[in-house]
Symmetry: C2
Subunit: 442 residues, 2 copies
C-alpha cells in the first residue's frame, strides 16, 4: 500500500480534537449568550467575497495576507481576513431594510496567510459585536458592560478593561502641530514602557521632527498614572485649550461615571492614556482588556468607536462602536490558567454494555436519562467490563452505570463515580427515578 496519501494539515492550520473543541464551543456559547442578552443579533456573511470588496480598505499588509484566487468563472475572489470588512459591505447593502440602530454579533472563522511563528494560526475564529447607526454614549458604555459580563460568565474576575479616547491624543497632537506625524509619533510612543521616555523622545525627534517640548507633552500624556480620577485630572490639564482633547476627556469622565453606576467599578475599568489601537480607523473611545494573571498574552477583547463604517460602499454615514473577543487567545489563556475542563466528552454518564442480549434495556435506560436532561453514552459492544471502564476513564465521563445478569435479576444497577471510584447500588425496580436522582444530586 505504498500509494497511501499522507494525512496532514497545511502549515499554519490545525485540527481541533474534542478536548480542545469542547471548551472552544463552550466559549462561543457563552459569547453568544452574553451578546444576545444585550440585544445583539447574529448575522453571517460568506467566507468568500469579491477581492475588490475585501481589499477596499486593505493595507499592503492585509492584501499580502489574503487568500486570493480566481474561481471557475474567472472572478477575482478571496477568503475574508476579518469580520469588519464583510460587516461594512453587509451594512451598506442591507441597512435600509434593517434600520438603525443595528446591533449585530458575528462569530466565524477568518483566514490570513501570515507568518506562522509564535503560535499564530492561519485560520482563527473571531467574535465581533457592534452597534451601528448611533453616536450615543449609551452604546460605548454598553460595550464595556458586555466585556465585563463575558469575562464573568467565563469565571474570570481578575481583569482590567483599559479605556482611552482617541480624541485626547489627537487633540494634543493638534495643539503641538504634529497631527500629520501621528503615525511616526504613535510608533515611537508604543515603545514607552520598553525603552523609556528619553529614547522615545529621541525617536520622535528623528522620525517626526518633534522638539523636546512637543515630545515631552506627548510622553507626559501617555505616562499619566494613578486612579481614574487622578488620570482624568492630569488629562484635563494636558488637553487644556484643545477643544477636541477636552471633548475626549469629558467623554471619558462620563463613561467612567456611567459604567460605575451600572456596576463596572474602577477595580475593572481603568483609564489608560497610552492605548491607541492604530490610527486610521477609530475616532473616539478605544478599549483593550487584559487578564491580571496573564497580561503578557495581550488584549483578549479590543475595540472602539468609529465615525463611518461603510464609506467605501455607501454614502450613508454609519457611525458605530464595536469590539472583538479573541477567542483562540482566550482559550490559550484559560488553558494556561487551568480553567479548562479536561474531558473529551460532553456527556457525564457512561452506560456499560455488559449483557450481549440486553442492548434494548441499555438503550431504554439511556433514553430515560436523556429525557431527564442527562447526557448518556452507551458503549456499542459487549466487551470486557475492564476495557469499557478504561475507555470511560479516558474519555472523561463522570459516572458509569453497570448492569450485568445479577443486577438485572435484582433490579438494581451499580453506579460508579469514575473520579473517586466510589460505587453504589441503586434500585431500578420502580424505573430509573432513583438513578436519576443520584446522578443529578451532586
Amino acid at each position: 500500500m505504498s500509494d497511501l496519501i499522507v494525512p496532514r494539515t497545511l502549515k499554519g492550520f490545525r485540527d481541533y480534537p474534542p478536548e480542545l473543541m469542547l471548551p472552544r464551543e463552550s466559549l462561543m456559547e457563552t459569547a453568544r449568550h452574553v451578546y444576545r442578552s444585550y440585544g445583539f443579533a447574529p448575522i453571517d456573511t460568506p467566507a468568500l467575497e469579491y477581492a475588490e470588496i475585501l481589499c477596499g480598505k486593505g493595507s499592503d499588509e492585509t492584501d499580502k495576507q489574503m487568500y486570493r484566487f480566481k474561481d471557475a468563472g474567472d472572478r477575482d475572489i478571496g477568503l475574508r481576513f476579518d469580520l469588519t470588512v464583510p460587516f461594512a459591505r453587509f451594512a451598506a447593502q442591507h441597512i435600509g431594510s434593517l434600520g438603525t440602530p443595528f446591533k449585530r454579533y458575528h462569530i466565524a472563522p477568518v483566514w490570513r496567510g501570515e507568518n506562522t511563528q509564535r503560535g499564530r494560526f492561519r485560520e482563527f475564529v473571531q467574535c465581533d459585536f457592534d452597534t451601528i447607526g448611533t453616536q450615543s454614549i449609551a452604546s460605548d458604555v454598553e460595550i464595556l458592560l458586555v466585556i465585563q459580563d463575558l469575562l464573568h460568565a467565563l469565571g474570570i474576575e481578575r481583569f482590567k478593561i483599559q479605556l482611552n479616547d482617541r480624541r485626547v491624543l489627537t487633540g494634543v497632537l493638534e495643539q503641538v502641530e504634529l497631527l500629520d506625524q501621528s503615525v511616526a509619533i504613535l510608533r515611537a510612543l508604543d515603545k514607552l514602557t520598553k525603552v523609556g521616555a528619553e529614547r522615545v523622545a529621541a525617536e520622535m525627534a528623528e522620525t517626526a521632527g518633534a522638539d523636546a517640548s512637543q515630545a515631552g507633552k506627548i510622553i507626559a500624556l501617555a505616562a499619566c498614572e494613578g486612579t481614574n480620577e487622578e488620570i482624568l485630572r492630569q488629562l484635563q490639564q494636558l488637553t487644556r485649550g484643545s477643544a477636541r482633547g477636552e471633548e475626549g476627556v469629558a467623554f471619558l469622565q462620563q463613561v467612567v461615571s456611567l459604567a460605575d453606576a451600572a456596576g463596572l467599578s474602577a477595580e475593572q475599568l481603568r483609564v489608560s492614556p497610552s492605548i491607541a489601537r492604530g490610527l486610521d480607523y477609530y475616532t473616539g473611545m478605544v478599549v483593550e482588556t487584559f487578564l491580571d494573571d496573564l497580561p503578557e498574552i495581550g488584549s483578549i477583547c479590543s475595540g472602539g468607536r468609529y465615525d463611518n463604517l461603510a464609506g467605501l460602499y455607501t454614502k450613508q454615514q454609519l457611525p458605530g462602536i464595536g469590539a472583538s473577543l479573541g477567542l483562540d487567545r482566550l482559550l490559550a489563556a484559560l488553558e494556561e490558567l487551568g480553567k479548562l475542563p479536561t474531558t473529551q466528552t460532553a456527556a457525564p454518564v457512561f452506560i456499560a454494555y455488559f449483557e450481549a442480549d440486553r442492548l434494548a434495556d441499555y438503550l431504554r435506560l439511556a433514553k430515560s436519562l436523556r429525557a431527564a436532561g442527562l447526557g448518556v453514552e452507551v458503549f456499542p459492544e459487549p466487551k470486557k467490563i475492564g476495557q469499557q471502564l478504561k475507555y470511560a476513564d479516558r474519555r472523561g465521563f463522570t459516572w458509569a452505570v453497570i448492569q450485568g445478569a445479577d443486577e438485572f435479576e435484582r433490579a438494581i444497577c451499580q453506579l460508579k463515580h469514575l473520579k473517586t471510584a466510589e460505587t453504589r447500588e441503586i434500585s431500578v425496580a420502580n424505573g430509573p427515578s432513583q438513578l436519576i436522582q443520584a446522578l443529578t444530586e451532586t
Copy 2:
C-alpha cells in the same frame, strides 16, 4: 463619490441577516445538544486542505466543484466540499491517540462551486455525526434514535425515517449476476416512482443488459410495500439463497426490533427497500428522513454504514456509521411549515430610553433583569417614545419597559406587551423583583 464599490455577494452566496440567522443558530444549538446527549463530541478541521487530500476519493463531479487554487507558498490547496473527507483524514491522523470507538460531530460550512439553480448555494453548513471503530448494531440503532431526538427537539413529530440495508440489493444483484452493472441498475431503479416498472425494466435491459426476469426481481425488491413486518417478509423471500441478502434482511429485522424497544416505533421508522444512497460508499444500513408535511424537499437527514472510512490515508480499517443533518434544507422546510420565529432579536425585553439624564438608571435596571436571566436591550438614544416603540415592534421584542419622569417619581414602570399592546403599571419601589416576576410568569 463615483468611486464607491458596489456592495454585493458572489453569485451562489448569501448573507444571513438576524431573522434568518437566529433560527439557524437555534437549529445548530439543538443539533449540538442532541449529539452531545449521546456522547458525540465536537471536532473541527481546517476549511483549507491540500488538494491531494480533498481529491483523494473525489469523483470528476466533486473535483470540478471544488474551490481549488495555489496559495502564496505555491501549495495546491482547496476548500473542503464536505465534512467526510476531512474526517477521514483526521481519523487517519489522530485515531491512535483518540482511541476507538470514536464518536464525533462536526458542524461547519462547506463550499461547492456547483450550478446555482433551484435554491442551492455554494456555501452551506453540514451537521455530521459518526461513530467509527465499531461494527456493532448498537451504533446503527443509535443513529436512528439521534435522528428521532433531533426532530422531536425541533418540534417535528410527523416524519418518516426510511431504512434499508445495502446488502439486500447487493445480494439480489449477486444472485441475478448483475453486480457489476449496479450503477446502471440503480440509475434506472431511481426512476421507479416517476416512470413505472415497465419503463424501468426497459432501461435496465438497455443500459445493464438485464433480461425481464432479472429486472423483474430487482424491481420487485424496490417495490415492496406494507408494514415493516410485511416488507421484511417479502424481502426474506426475495433474498432467499443469497447469503449477503439474507444477512441484510436479518439485520434490518434486528434494527427495527431494537429501535422499537428503544421508543422508535413503526410510525416513524419504515423499512424502505428502494433507498440506496449511491453505490461506492455505504456497505450496510442506509437511512433517509422525510417530513410528512413536506416530502418533496427531499431527505433532511441521511447516512449509512461504511466498512472503511480512511483507507486512502491509513492501513487501519475504520468501519463506522454516520449521518448528516441538512441544516439549510431543514431551515427552508421549517420556514415553509411556519415553524420559524419571526423575530430579529434574541432578547425579549426592550427598555426605552426616555429621560436623557437617567441613562445610568436604565442601565442598572437592564443589569438586574439580565442577572435574572432575561435578555434586555436599552435603546441607545433618548428619542421620541413613539419612534423607540416602532423600533421595538420592528425588531420583534415581546415587552417594552417605559419609565419617564412621572414613573421615576412614583417608583413604578410601565410594562407594555408589544403583541397585545396591553400595558400595566409595576412598582419598582423595592427593586425590580415585581417586574422580573411579571416578565417571567408568562
